[in-house]
């Protein structure tokens, strides 16, 4: 199905020329202003100069200034578009239709993504001061908490951001489940979403060790032992996580790199795929809605 071309935003529409600025010999103002180009409105231009004084200077000046100011973003957008050709794509993305009945339940996915972005930002700031050595980790966390400007706040946001992200991702999944949104043609997006859920929980698990306090340490020991109890692959996974058969200095730096490089990279890539499919397939309509036209058509057939 092909969607109708969405309308241009107002700022980009060709403007009808003002009476005074119409160049002589060109009857239709829309035609001249058109073909997408912005007209020359520099102060020195001869056209329109004659009428300005009679119309009351300041007002015209202000309007002229407004148009000139508008030229800057339009110029930048035009420059980018000329070189990237991305404007049809961006316009298609921004002006794509969202089905009737789209409600607040449909914001949970984007909110989860926003929570991930917040985690990434606070995480980057924490990484600037964190030191993943067993003898230094705890001290660097107390340094962040006690000495740095807003340090405790950023660490708190990272900690509670994880809680919020986990709640949001579960709510998002519950919405998808109860609305039947995982059904044809969105099965693949459901699978990606479940992988994202697992990765999010893995983030919570791997991050728990990093402050290197008693809670995190022993909880991680237990979690890795639980992993080791799995049949066949269990001991190997546990050895991989610990970087050997014992908890050592390697374990902490290994968890650190898993927590801030491997899993976030995977999450970002999978969010990209998830979003691509959302934009491509569209979000579902609430399942209780029936298309009115379809209803009418069906009745006609009968």
């Amino acid at each position: 199905m092909k969607l109708p071309t969405p309308p241009l935003p107002r700022a980009l529409k060709p403007k009808p020329g003002r009476p005074g600025s119409r160049p002589p010999g060109n009857g239709d103002a829309n035609g001249t202003g058109g073909n997408g180009k912005v007209r020359d409105l520099r102060p020195g231009t001869p056209d329109g100069n004659g009428e300005r004084p009679s119309k009351g200077g300041p007002r015209v000046d202000r309007e002229r200034f407004k148009e000139q100011a508008l030229e800057v973003p339009i110029g930048v957008a035009g420059w980018l578009d000329e070189r990237s050709g991305m404007s049809p794509f961006v316009r298609g993305l921004a002006y794509r239709k969202v089905p009737r009945g789209t409600n607040w339940w449909y914001t949970l996915g984007s909110a989860t993504m926003f929570a991930f972005v917040a985690q990434a930002v606070t995480g980057v700031f924490l990484a600037m001061y964190y030191n993943p050595a067993p003898s230094e980790a705890y001290e660097s966390i107390t340094h962040i908490t006690n000495d740095l400007f807003l340090g405790e706040f950023v660490r708190g946001m990272h900690k509670w951001g994880s809680t919020v992200m986990v709640i949001l991702i579960f709510l998002h999944m519950a919405r998808t489940f109860f609305f039947g949104a995982y059904k044809y043609p969105r099965e693949l997006n459901w699978v990606i979403g479940v992988v994202l859920l697992v990765l999010t929980l893995a983030m919570g698990l791997s991050g728990y060790l990093l402050p290197f306090d008693q809670r995190g340490f022993w909880a991680t020991v237990v979690a890795v032992n639980i992993n080791a109890s799995a049949p066949v692959m269990g001991p190997y996974i546990a050895d991989f996580l610990r970087g050997g058969s014992e908890f050592t200095a390697t374990t902490l730096s290994r968890f650190y790199s898993i927590h801030m490089l491997i899993i976030p990279g995977l999450i970002a890539a999978l969010i990209g795929a998830h979003l691509y499919l959302v934009a491509k397939l569209g979000t579902t309509a609430p399942p209780w809605l029936k298309a009115e036209k379809a209803k009418a058509l069906n009745q006609e057939e009968l």
Partner: protein, 234 residues
């Protein structure tokens, strides 16, 4: 879903989509408001509850009760619900893995075209049951101690634990999961030796164990705590 049902869905969806509004600015306004609310919730939680940091990790601690993040409580609680040790792997890996595979493959075994939750009672009931079960296990996990607390007997001996951990016993002896096996294991030493015997051994040990007579003189309280703790290991 057969091909007809697929086409029916796509047709109906395209009509519903046509009846809708554009993503920008209508949907993005909602998404943006939700992002602001998310941010505010995170900030309020941070300001209200702060970022707690426990004591530094100590690998020699023998009876610290580990608690995971609250959103793993339901998994930990499974450990307690499944009692027999030969079934432990069911609780640790079996049930979670099966649930995860079921979740992952959901669109491949639930292929009916119906989407309304009220018209697919099995799926809706299964979903609600799962949520209630997870909430119940999370609540149990929040109210109860950690699963390993049950196995370790030495609760309520904080001072003794600290003393033992800082006296280097684990350099030679094994207590529970930790420590070396140069000397005899101390996990159940309280069952083998009475309290006085432990104190006597500490002061006047067999070689090569160092004597703790100095500790008894300098810090008798710490010494007593250590003896109490070791005697409580049964």
């Amino acid at each position: 879903m057969n091909n007809r049902e697929k086409e029916d869905y796509l047709r109906e969806y395209s009509i519903l989509k046509g009846e809708g509004k554009s993503f920008f600015p209508y949907a993005i306004a909602k998404d943006g408001s939700m992002a602001v609310i998310t941010m505010l919730v995170i900030i309020v939680l941070t300001l209200a509850l702060g970022a707690e940091l426990g004591p530094k990790a100590d690998a020699t601690t023998t009876s610290f009760s580990p608690r995971p993040e609250w959103y793993f409580f339901f998994l930990f609680e499974l450990l307690r619900v499944v009692k027999p040790p030969e079934l432990t792997f069911l609780a640790t890996m079996g049930i979670p893995t099966i649930c995860l595979v079921l979740l992952l493959l959901l669109p491949f075994f639930d292929r009916s075209p119906e989407r309304n939750p009220l018209k697919r009672p099995i799926a809706t009931l299964a979903g609600i049951t799962t949520i209630v079960a997870m909430a119940y296990l999370t609540l149990l996990g929040a109210l109860g101690g950690s699963p390993t607390e049950i196995e370790l007997q030495a609760a309520g001996q904080e001072d003794g634990k600290q003393a033992t951990a800082s006296s280097g016993c684990l350099g030679c002896h094994r207590i529970g999961e930790n420590g070396n096996e140069i000397g005899p294991e101390l996990t159940e030493v309280g069952a083998r030796l009475p309290r006085e015997a432990i104190a006597r051994t500490l002061v006047n040990p067999t070689q090569p164990m160092p004597s703790y007579a100095k500790l008894q003189k300098q810090d008798p309280e710490k010494f007593q705590d250590m003896v109490d703790f070791l005697a409580s290991l049964k």
